[in-house]
């Protein structure tokens, strides 16, 4: 059987949206897929050595389950984002769901290739030393070189 391939474009940098790319990539790697993730715009945040800045916001997120209904003006108050993040991380831990650090490590262990968008790094004046080692930097063409040969290609 020829090896299946999966390509993912990760464009979001929030805690909830960090899960789909890392879960799918790590699982695909466990299923013997060859996997690449292209991190662009806010998605690059997920490649930082320090992931403590990855948060979840109840703002503009009406589907987020809340212990009590929260009006938008309350959700906009200072500290609400940190509180929501803390509550979410607590729930993740209690339910035996992996942390994003854990899933990212599983991706690396499974041989998932991470590609950082060179243009985004330049656009936001990101520093390469803030990101984990082993990332390849490139542009859209770099992504297509692999994506064009894949069985599954996802945009997150």
């Amino acid at each position: 059987m020829t090896q299946k391939k999966l390509a993912i474009i990760a464009t979001k940098g929030t805690l909830d949206m960090a899960y789909p790319p890392f879960i799918l990539a790590s699982t695909a790697a466990a299923l013997d897929y060859e996997v690449q993730i292209f991190f662009t715009f806010y998605g690059l945040t997920l490649l930082r050595k320090d992931l403590s800045g990855v948060k979840i916001s109840p703002l503009a997120n009406p589907a987020m389950p809340m212990p009590v209904p929260m009006p938008v003006l309350v959700a906009a108050l200072p500290g609400m984002e940190s509180m929501a993040t803390m509550m979410m991380k607590d729930k993740i831990k209690k339910k035996g769901v992996a942390s994003i650090e854990e899933l990212r490590a599983a991706c690396i262990e499974g041989g998932v290739k991470f590609i950082g968008c060179e243009m985004t790094v330049d656009l936001f004046d990101f520093k390469r030393e803030d990101f984990i080692d082993g990332i390849e930097y490139g542009g859209a063409s770099t992504f297509f070189e692999f994506a064009g040969s894949t069985d599954i290609c996802l945009f997150v």
Partner: protein
Amino acid sequence: MDYNKELDARGLNCPLPILKTKKALGELAAGQVLKVISTDAGSVKDMEAFAKQTGNELLSSQPEGKEYVFFLKKK
């Protein structure tokens, strides 16, 4: 059933049981058997899909109370 290694995946949620199963199988030789115990109901279907895709044989998949017990033979 005889087995060479046991993996306790109790309390872990998707996709951790599969990720840890893959890792544990990596430490076995071809033909050896891994026993996995999980509490994640989703792992029943996931384990079947994992076996089918990777070619490792799922020898048995049984619920035991609130737990799920799997035996996998390494390819």
